[in-house]
């Protein structure tokens, strides 16, 4: 596609959002204030640690953290931890989507199937994913599969409920109009149910992605031997405190990158939508 000839929806949106000339100045002032806020935070942190303020006595300074990160960047094991955590998260996440989306679509579409299955899911859903860790370790043959299972649970219910809600929110009249114009159930499903539920499905995916990283950290602390969560915990056990903060920042970064990936996929899959 020729990008210059056909303005992308994102470009159109950006142009609409930018107000006349003063808009630019406001934006740069906002950036300046944002940086000032972050800089103040870092300065207070450094100062608090140096002055041994109550909560911060044992906390490493930002400078220590930066130094620890630089030395860790030269360690190949650090990259391996990234890789391992990403593989676990995406493994569990993809399985959750592969099961949750079809099940949610079916539950939204067929009332009888919904009545049959909804109560069971409603009973299981409030149990926090991490409460499944012990049973999961007992049940699955390898630690790796039990971690993946708990991550799967973290994303599964979110995507299921969001898909179901997305289908249920579709205006009944669309379906009736299509049927009265002679559409078969397959066409109704492909042209109305699926695209109609997509925004909600992607909301579920974005929320689910956030949950999976949170679950991953705890699962790695409890049952893991590698990964970013384990790196953080190991640093705590070994008493190398700056590495703890490096681990936290790495996990935050990894979570942010994966959420951004979901958003990009969403924008690609729904060019008509302006929500992302």
């Amino acid at each position: 596609m020729n990008v210059e000839a056909a303005p992308s929806p994102a470009g159109l949106r950006a142009r609409n959002r930018t107000r006349p000339v003063p808009g630019r100045e406001v934006a740069s002032a906002a950036a300046l204030r944002g940086s000032a806020g972050i800089a103040t935070f870092l300065a207070l942190w450094q100062l608090g640690v140096v002055l041994h303020l109550p909560l911060l006595a044992k906390i490493p300074t930002p400078a220590d953290v930066a130094a620890a990160w630089l030395s860790l960047l030269r360690d190949p094991r650090y990259y391996l931890d990234w890789l391992v955590s990403f593989r676990r998260v995406f493994g569990g996440f993809v399985i959750a989507q592969a099961l949750g989306i079809p099940l949610g679509l079916l539950m939204g579409w067929k009332a009888a199937f919904r009545s049959l299955t909804f109560p069971v899911f409603e009973v299981l859903r409030p149990i926090p994913p991490l409460a499944w860790v012990p049973l999961s370790i007992l049940f699955w043959p390898t630690p790796e599969s039990s971690i993946t299972f708990v991550i799967f649970l973290g994303a599964f219910f979110t995507v299921l409920i969001n898909t179901l809600a997305g289908v249920r929110a579709i205006d009944e009249r669309y379906v009736r109009a299509a049927i009265s114009l002679g559409a078969t159930p397959a066409i109704v499903f492909r042209r109305i149910i699926l695209p109609g539920a997509l925004p909600s499905i992607f909301t579920g995916m974005a929320v689910g992605m956030g949950i999976t990283w949170s679950v991953l950290v705890a699962a790695e602390i409890i049952a893991g031997r590698s990964g970013l969560g384990y790196l953080t915990w190991e640093a705590y056990v070994a008493g190398s405190f700056p590495t703890i903060v490096v681990g936290m920042i790495s996990i935050g970064l990894a979570g942010y990158l994966s959420s951004a990936l979901v958003r990009i996929v969403a924008a690609r899959a729904m060019p008509w939508s302006k929500r992302f």
Partner: protein, 269 residues
């Protein structure tokens, strides 16, 4: 949106739905029992539903935890106290901060980037730092639970304030309201639906991270009960702990929903 759908799903309960629901649940329990009973694959490692039920309702439980055991209620109480303190702290700090961020552009520009920088760090990644920062395990667990609920509350409150129709604010100013009156009579009630969405999400994630905190650093509470029963291979007690967590979590979310409905009587549900 999710909520409305669920409510609609609950609201119109017809007989056929009830029967189907019961059938689905019975099928789930039967499948569970059969898989365990005939030791399909690794299901022999799990307890079957009836032994869980027997243990739960037993006056003399094999592993010490049942409806008639005081220690069971001590664990529930320990977890509930932690969640309540953390949730109240998150509400007391998060709602005012969220209103400030939504209401005052300068404050938002200063603080929001910082919040967005810290927010992607999952609450559970704070575990080691929380233990280092705070002297006691109790404080560390409350901190973990608090930080999970706090961000959900702040963000949703801010979203609520920014979503208020600009013309309401202008109308109030035109009629001579002062900034303080507008804040109290327009901004706060206008953002209440979002605030309560945030509080509900916050309650969910609070239980979520409390369980992890108790598993890693706890000495009492439902998360600790589950992990401890795992160490001693008391699988029925693990399931009792899980079910109890689900129940308590569900009840606390229902309480938040109920409070929200009470405060927002103008809304149609």
């Amino acid at each position: 949106m999710v909520d409305a759908t669920l409510r609609r799903a609950r609201g119109r309960i017809a007989w056929s739905q009830l029967v189907l629901g019961a059938a689905g649940f019975a099928a789930f329990v039967a499948a569970w029992w059969l898989l365990v009973h005939f030791a399909v694959w690794r299901f022999s490692k799990l307890p079957d539903p009836f032994s869980v039920l027997r243990e739960w309702t037993s006056r003399k439980p094999e592993y010490g935890i049942s409806l008639f055991a005081p220690t069971y209620y001590q664990d529930i109480w320990a977890s509930t106290v932690r969640v309540t303190i953390a949730f109240l702290l998150a509400t007391a700090l998060g709602v005012p901060l969220g209103i400030l961020l939504g209401w005052n552009r300068i404050a938002r520009e200063f603080l929001f980037p910082l919040i967005e920088l810290i927010r992607p760090i999952p609450p559970l990644a704070w575990v080691p730092l929380a233990i280092l920062m705070l002297s006691g395990q109790q404080e560390a667990m409350i901190f973990l639970t608090w930080i999970a609920a706090f961000f959900a509350t702040v963000l949703n409150t801010m979203l609520g304030v920014t979503s208020i129709d600009e013309s309401y604010l202008r109308a109030a100013y035109c009629l001579g309201s002062r900034r303080w009156d507008v804040l109290w009579n327009v901004v706060v009630p206008g953002s209440l639906p979002f605030i309560f969405t945030g509080l509900q999400i916050g309650m969910g994630v609070a239980w979520f991270s409390l369980v992890a905190g108790e598993m890693i650093a706890g000495e009492a509470g439902l998360g600790y009960l589950i992990l401890n029963s795992y160490m001693e291979l008391q699988t029925t007690t693990i399931v009792i702990g899980m079910v109890t967590l689900g129940l308590v979590g569900f009840l606390s979310s229902a309480l938040v929903r109920w409070t929200g409905r009470r405060l927002m009587t103008w809304q149609s549900h």
